[in-house]
Symmetry: D2
Amino acid sequence: MTTSSTSIRTAVAGATGYAGAELTTILRRHPHAEVVAEYSSESFSVDALASSHAEVVFLATPNEVSAEIAPKILGLGMKVVDLSGAFRLRQAGLYPKWYGFAHEHPELLDEAAYGLTEWCNGELKKARLVANPGCYPTSILLALRPVAFLIDREQPVIIDAKSGVSGAGKKADVSYSFAELFGNFKAYGVGSHRHEPEIRQGLHLGEKATLVFVPHLLPTVRGILSTMHVGFTHSVNDEEIAEMYAKAYANAPFVKILEPGRLPELKDVVNTPRCDIGWRLLQGGRRAVIVSVIDNLLKGAASQAVQNFNRMYGFPETEGLQ
Amino acid sequence: MTTSSTSIRTAVAGATGYAGAELTTILRRHPHAEVVAEYSSESFSVDALASSHAEVVFLATPNEVSAEIAPKILGLGMKVVDLSGAFRLRQAGLYPKWYGFAHEHPELLDEAAYGLTEWCNGELKKARLVANPGCYPTSILLALRPVAFLIDREQPVIIDAKSGVSGAGKKADVSYSFAELFGNFKAYGVGSHRHEPEIRQGLHLGEKATLVFVPHLLPTVRGILSTMHVGFTHSVNDEEIAEMYAKAYANAPFVKILEPGRLPELKDVVNTPRCDIGWRLLQGGRRAVIVSVIDNLLKGAASQAVQNFNRMYGFPETEGLQ
Amino acid sequence: MTTSSTSIRTAVAGATGYAGAELTTILRRHPHAEVVAEYSSESFSVDALASSHAEVVFLATPNEVSAEIAPKILGLGMKVVDLSGAFRLRQAGLYPKWYGFAHEHPELLDEAAYGLTEWCNGELKKARLVANPGCYPTSILLALRPVAFLIDREQPVIIDAKSGVSGAGKKADVSYSFAELFGNFKAYGVGSHRHEPEIRQGLHLGEKATLVFVPHLLPTVRGILSTMHVGFTHSVNDEEIAEMYAKAYANAPFVKILEPGRLPELKDVVNTPRCDIGWRLLQGGRRAVIVSVIDNLLKGAASQAVQNFNRMYGFPETEGLQ
Amino acid sequence: MTTSSTSIRTAVAGATGYAGAELTTILRRHPHAEVVAEYSSESFSVDALASSHAEVVFLATPNEVSAEIAPKILGLGMKVVDLSGAFRLRQAGLYPKWYGFAHEHPELLDEAAYGLTEWCNGELKKARLVANPGCYPTSILLALRPVAFLIDREQPVIIDAKSGVSGAGKKADVSYSFAELFGNFKAYGVGSHRHEPEIRQGLHLGEKATLVFVPHLLPTVRGILSTMHVGFTHSVNDEEIAEMYAKAYANAPFVKILEPGRLPELKDVVNTPRCDIGWRLLQGGRRAVIVSVIDNLLKGAASQAVQNFNRMYGFPETEGLQ
């Protein structure tokens, strides 16, 4: 049980990347966190970490690095909140195809709490290992889960998502250079993006349901807007949809549901920890276009990690985030 | 019959807008066009035009203005290429709902040639009135028509399109100001965009087929990228699709079909008169994501108008455009 | 004398503009401020304000509006922090030329405290009326004042300043539209910008000294970078300059002086209340290029207003700003 | 003597960089040029070039590469237009400090024609080797040379220049990545930019005159705007300045002088081969702010190279550039 004067010793690995830097900034001003150690992905060592006496370690490291070091950190008796994809998928067998490496700790995939905060219950309080969701999946699952039981899985679920460039991380790569991307726009990773199995898993789409996920690269730095096209098994009206969302997010301080018919825009949420969601019904309520927006570095990474941290230690969910 | 030294007397109304300015620039350097008069939408008068002795008048004027003045210009014995939506829809009854005015010349809707150049045959040569297609419909119809007979109309045709800001024209409007749009992104006009009935008409979708058209506003000035999601009636492979496109555009100098699996990006076509098209097959060839890009002010407006002009007068289609 | 539980009743006029909105956001989360009333520039009325029982009123209103309503608000016994230029110049005679209106309350020009916070002493505590500095003058005066006595006034002081578009406010004006400004850059207001006499006054440049102030419009939303070119009366070295800055800003939480030879960039301060300053000596220390950066909506407007508010009421200078 | 049907065999080395790609595009549509060979900087070999039987070779290669291969190409009896800085400075002794390598062919520095086209006379016709000017120097020298004799060299010549990101070339470098530069702005290279000695040389500033050159990086891809601050030896008026420019550029198709008091903006020239120049007189005509704009990849590189090519072979200066 935590009290108002409790301060948790935290460490951050990968603190120099975009998400890691945001995370470190938030933790530094968090009233109940003390940042006792920071590492770049390169400078990290388990020995150094051991001597920091951190209670919880945030990993903003590459997938392979997280997969390798998280078990060791758990071995030190520290908790882990991993912002990479290393522990997000339940099935170890998916890792070779989607992530390019075989997963050596399937037992941790079973154990890890999938930290889509608004859909977590008591599991975060007990978790040793939290898999912080991907940025695209966060924007999509928050929007689709409240209406998921309505969705007709005989029809394809089509997701046309657009992300700012920071989603790709800090890259010394001509194809991410200013001169190549300014004023440009493109789809990428159709059929091969790592977030696709995570979305499929998060929607409990069976093997047979069709998911079309087309990510695009926006010529801006921050933010994701996902446009989701779904068919429903029966006709619904705006009031019913509004009620489903209201019920799902009655106690969610960082999810904002717009008035029926209104759609959110990216700038509404950039630099905020929020997810905003709107929809338009079509075909007499048999189909909808649902649009959600998040800041990919915050709700899509750092601020959601802190929401999870708050839940793990029993702090108010908004602590450090307002 | 035209000869290499032929020069056609042309006039432009709406020459100060973005599309009108591009058009005027192209016509001025066109070897077979002489720009004998230019008007802003405000300064235009039929009397002044009459004394210009133009042979063909390009209208880059608002829909209502074009609807009003085109019949008068035709009455002067001049030809008209209209870049607005005033003569694009066959059914006059659609105008009140989609354009906000009743159409007073349904006979001209019958007469007008719909100038999606690559899909025109002899009609441009005989046309008195050419309705230049909308920017979104151009990007969409060029991509979908070659595979239209394959498309399963029992499934929704879902089009997620994104346009640069110049598509909205020159606007003194806070919501189009730099400070509001820079770094922003949003969907708009879902279910109410004027190009929706034009796309439906151009795809010969019957009343029952579902078309979902979601335009978005990109934080850049020029270019449209349309992401199209279609189901097919039967399974196809890349070679078959490639052949359909190759056949459709064998003689189209401004349509470029990418290698199977490759998708175009916006910068490939900005400042060019081209439309680039790529696709990815999904579900074992039962479904595709098709992506096309154009410069909305060129292939989506001015350069397509000049392609049409070239065809009307028997000049090579590329004249003035390379 | 204020205590930790003190809460000051504040009102904001002009709360819907860019600076006003930032200000309102800050005040709402300020531990010692209560926002009891908000008005747009249009909806403001002195009567409504009177019934709000505010103690201090922030004006983010146009110059003429502030000039007219500030005296009335003071008449209600409320304090005023004015973010416009209405009370910045000491000499009433300058208003017709630079602001286009005759100033009707020269006595208030005498009384107003010029709120360049770091250079204020006790005057803010006693002030009824604070003139919050202009954005360009803030970036320039903070950089030049510590070395002002060194500057050779026989040589021109040349200031080449660049501002993001939000500096112009919310405008329904084609020349501030996205399509006109994206990818563009230009100088404007040479010899006629309202901040020029304010800079001249703030540097105590006499009539004869030459000030060249060339503002430019950057294709981004937020931030000002000022490049200042000054000659010195005698040769100095980096250590001496560093010491002058260190002394001037020893107790300034929001001014950051860079290591000798390093120059700040815009992104260092965007979305922060800070001013960062760097310099390069030239000509053997007889001349310098000094570069400063601020967020024009924060240190150049809203956060500096709150720094002033904190000083007026004896709160820590950083309260509500970290 | 060339005739209208003459076609010159040209080769381009460095054709994949930004300037090289622009150059190749122009040459391909040039009525009197045939591109017989293209090389990336990496794929270039003198042997391959020899077999191309090119008459003239354009080098859009790094400085060191140009310095090494130009003499060999001249040895093949081919002419060279070099877009790098390898042959721009007259004094070999400047190369180690500014370019980081010792120049091995000082005799070629004597021989090379400095191709600031508008200021060249017969030398281009005779040249074997043309040193195409740097982008910043082009924008600055075109603006200052017509008034150079007026400039008071006792006062510093202060140049505050701003360039789009393409000026740095195609770079796999985090500091040129989109995420780092979008919405950012900074000065760089104060006192160390390679174009500084070139500007000094081009203005015939002696050792003692002070030149302050501060380049900045604009968050856009194309274009340079240079703001120049100069004092005059005596007072002049707008008509006199206008006359000087008119005289200097009477026959210059690609220099546009604005009306007195008007200043050019970047978008006026982006994607054009033009340099636009404007000025404002200050201090009763004893001082001026002069502003010029160019597209750094065209007038600052590729189109100026083609202007030079046209002059070398006696083609009209505008051939291939309109």
